[in-house]
């Protein structure tokens, strides 16, 4: 009673009910109460309350401030494929402008909703596969921008597996790197995703809310990325600044 029985794979009814509860919250909209869900699904009340507490504990649902009503939590966004619109022509022109100025690959990624999606990869310097970038944000510079913005990055980066000999895989070390990223607004990885390549990335933020919108990355030889690159970082930041009104 104090400890809701853990769901195991042998309880298909419970899993089905939990999914039905999630769907019911989506269908009824934010503010739906436990009693209403129980009535709509014809589930026993005690079962409904236990499932709701479980889903709140896992952060797929949140309780609204009156503590009676429920709404979808941010984590639920990860159940759906993000629909990322193609960036406007003006934004692509800014990225193209930067490509003309440097000899490195320039990629633009959307970082909305806690997921990483490449929206304008450099055709001349193809980036790593989209699925790899999305699954292992700990190893890429763009992914680290995303993680550094999360309240709890451990919930997003669950599998800190090494992709090369240089990949940072320790949670504490990665935490320190992410704190650096958050403080400096610059993410860097040298040979952690592919042994010979490295990346620098800066965030694009909504000026009104401060929310992370996108990331702009420069990719080149790993040894070159490790250098301070002050001039390149200045260029990168300048272009990210010009993207703000176009993307936010």
């Amino acid at each position: 009673m104090t400890d809701p029985a853990p769901l195991s794979g042998r309880q298909p009814r419970a899993v089905r009910s939990a999914l039905a509860v999630l769907e019911e919250v989506v269908a009824s909209g934010p503010g739906v109460t436990a009693k209403e869900i129980s009535a709509a699904l014809k589930l026993p009340q005690a079962t409904t309350y236990r499932l709701l507490n479980l889903l709140v504990g896992e952060e797929y649902l949140v309780r609204l401030p009156d503590l009676r009503g429920f709404a979808l939590g941010r984590r639920a966004a990860r159940l759906a494929l993000p629909v990322v619109p193609r960036p406007p022509a003006a934004a692509r022109a800014v990225v193209e402008h930067l490509r003309a100025m440097v000899r490195w690959g320039v990629h633009l990624a959307s970082l909305r909703g806690g997921t990483l999606t490449l929206v304008d990869p450099d055709p001349d310097h193809p980036p790593s596969e989209a699925a790899v970038l999305a699954r292992y944000p700990h190893a890429s510079a763009l992914g680290r921008l995303l993680l550094a913005d999360q309240a709890d990055w451990r919930a997003v980066a669950r599998d800190l597996r090494p992709l090369t000999a240089h990949t940072v895989t320790g949670a504490a070390e990665l935490g320190a790197r992410l704190a650096d990223v958050a403080a400096s607004g610059l993410a860097r990885q040298c040979g952690e995703l592919r042994a010979d390549r490295g990346c620098l990335a800066v965030p694009v933020r909504d000026p009104a809310t401060g929310a992370l919108v996108a990331g702009l990355a420069l990719c080149g030889p790993a040894t070159r990325v490790a250098e301070p690159n002050d001039e390149l970082v200045r260029l990168l930041r300048e272009h990210a600044e010009r993207l703000v009104p176009l993307l936010a």
Binding site: T2, P30, A34, V56, P65, L67, A71, A151
Partner: protein, 469 residues
């Protein structure tokens, strides 16, 4: 869509950063099982005699029931103000205010007691290792030094603080388990026969036995800072009640069987008597280390909870808003620490300096703290079903839990009042209640709006909700 804030009312704390083990350490350290293992069985045996184990078993069940009531809240909300913030959601401002005053007394005085206890056992350790101990100035100085260390301990980032508590408490429990395993089967010299318990004696033994558990809810003050509060906090509170119960039963069994010839209740230091009977002096050194560390961890955990209650009260507007400030880098309530720590250090230091015997200071402070906790526990048990009814999630089991736990707690409180009647303690408690009443009256007169709205917790903000783009 109801209106959502953009910032949590308890912003400024290090949100969602403590793992389960670190949260668990707060509760275990708050209950300080090592210190209670050594001292409480003899107190219980004074009334329960051979029924001592039964008294502890009943107290464990009561603690588990209280934990279940707390879990009804902590599974649904994350707060920094411990039971005070939770009670507000069930009993409204009056109940929450009562719980708040009781908790300030409980946490504040338990922290004082733990400071004193830590100083006493460190002093005894120094004396046992051949130093000179026991002098009054040394004890007062030890309390002050420990208070400064404790200030640093609660001021640093909560993650570091929690890890220190975890480490100290783990060592303490390991040491105590070794000590009691070594004492299993020791035979003390025969003493006066134990009193015949009967159900009345066992029931009277529940009060001190339950006193051994106080502080096991300390993790509820870490709701904002726990990484997965809705999962972690209710579990660790229940686990702490269960684990502390098991440790107490083990310690009580060792002592009751060691004094099978009688005399447990009549011996001032029963564990030391058992050590002498065993003839292994190193056990006494370990015992002092274990208890001193247990009290030190208890000081840290209790202070952490105390300053978070003060912080929450400041955010509610019933104490000066300045106490609700947090340090920008350390993300701990440094203003509340600056106000609470001097008081917590000054009271035991003054009592010791005035020449009150140290063991009496410890015992009386623990008694006052117990009163505060019992009131807060009673209020949370009453609040649980009302809270569930308010949010429309009431089922039968929580009502049944309260129906059992609340009368038992009331009876224990009544037993407490009867057992302490006539001494200085009722006077102190009376003065504290009076001060609470005056404070309540002042708030009713000057801050009625703040008073009506108390109960700030880490509510869902606009950012937490997945909304249509």
């Amino acid at each position: 869509m109801p209106h959502l804030r953009h910032r949590s009312p308890v912003h400024g704390l290090d949100r969602r950063n403590l793992g389960p083990a670190e949260v668990l350490a707060q509760s275990v350290a708050g209950a300080a099982p090592a210190a209670a293992m050594a001292t409480v069985p003899a107190i219980v045996a004074a009334t329960a005699g051979p029924g001592t184990l039964w008294s502890f078993a009943v107290a464990t069940v009561v603690a588990l029931l209280i934990g279940s009531c707390i879990g009804q809240f902590t599974r649904r909300m994350a707060a920094a103000g411990s039971l005070y913030s939770l009670t507000a959601q069930g009993l409204g401002p009056a109940g929450a205010f009562g719980s708040g005053v009781a908790l300030l007394v409980g946490y504040g005085v338990l922290a004082m007691a733990a400071l004193t206890g830590s100083a006493i056992y460190l002093d005894a350790l120094v004396a046992r290792l051949g130093g000179t101990g026991g002098s009054r100035p040394v004890l007062v100085a030890a309390v002050c030094v420990l208070a400064v260390l404790a200030t640093a301990g609660v001021l640093v980032r909560v993650r570091l603080s929690a890890r220190v508590v975890l480490l100290v408490e783990a060592v303490s429990i390991t040491v105590m388990t070794v000590v009691f395993l070594a004492l299993l089967g020791a035979d003390a010299p025969a003493g006066p026969p134990p009193p015949d318990p009967g159900p009345g004696g066992i029931a009277a033994g529940v009060l001190p036995a339950l006193g051994a558990f106080i502080g096991f809810e300390a993790a509820t003050a870490m709701g904002v800072e726990a990484r997965r509060p809705f999962r972690t906090v209710p579990r660790v509170v229940t686990w702490t009640a269960g684990a502390a119960g098991a440790l107490f039963l083990f310690a009580a069994y060792t002592q009751v069987s060691g004094f099978s010839a009688g005399g447990l209740a009549a011996t001032p230091e029963p564990v030391l008597t058992l050590v002498t009977a065993r003839g292994e002096p190193w056990i006494a050194v370990l015992l002092d280390v274990g208890i001193a560390m247990s009290f030190a961890a208890c000081t840290l955990a209790t202070l952490g909870a105390l300053v978070r209650v003060l912080f929450s009260m400041a955010r509610d507007g019933i104490v000066p808003a300045r106490l609700g400030a947090t340090h920008p880098r350390l993300r701990t309530p440094h203003a509340a620490i600056a106000v609470a720590l001097p008081v917590v250090a000054a009271v035991p230091a003054a009592l010791l300096a005035a020449g009150v015997p140290p063991s009496r200071v410890l015992a009386e402070l623990l008694t006052v703290a117990t009163a505060g906790y019992l009131v807060a526990y009673l209020l949370i048990c009453l609040a649980a079903p009302l809270f569930l009814r308010r949010i429309g999630e009431l089922t039968t089991p929580p009502v049944a839990v309260t129906a059992v736990a609340a009368p038992v707690l009331l009876a224990v409180l009544a037993a407490f009042v009867v057992s302490e009647w006539g001494g200085a303690i009722p006077l102190v408690i009376g003065l504290l209640v009076l001060a609470g009443g005056v404070w309540w009256g002042w708030l009713r007169l000057r801050r009625p709006r703040e008073l009506a709205g108390i109960g700030a917790y880490d509510e869902t903000v606009a950012d937490d909700v997945l909304a249509r783009p």
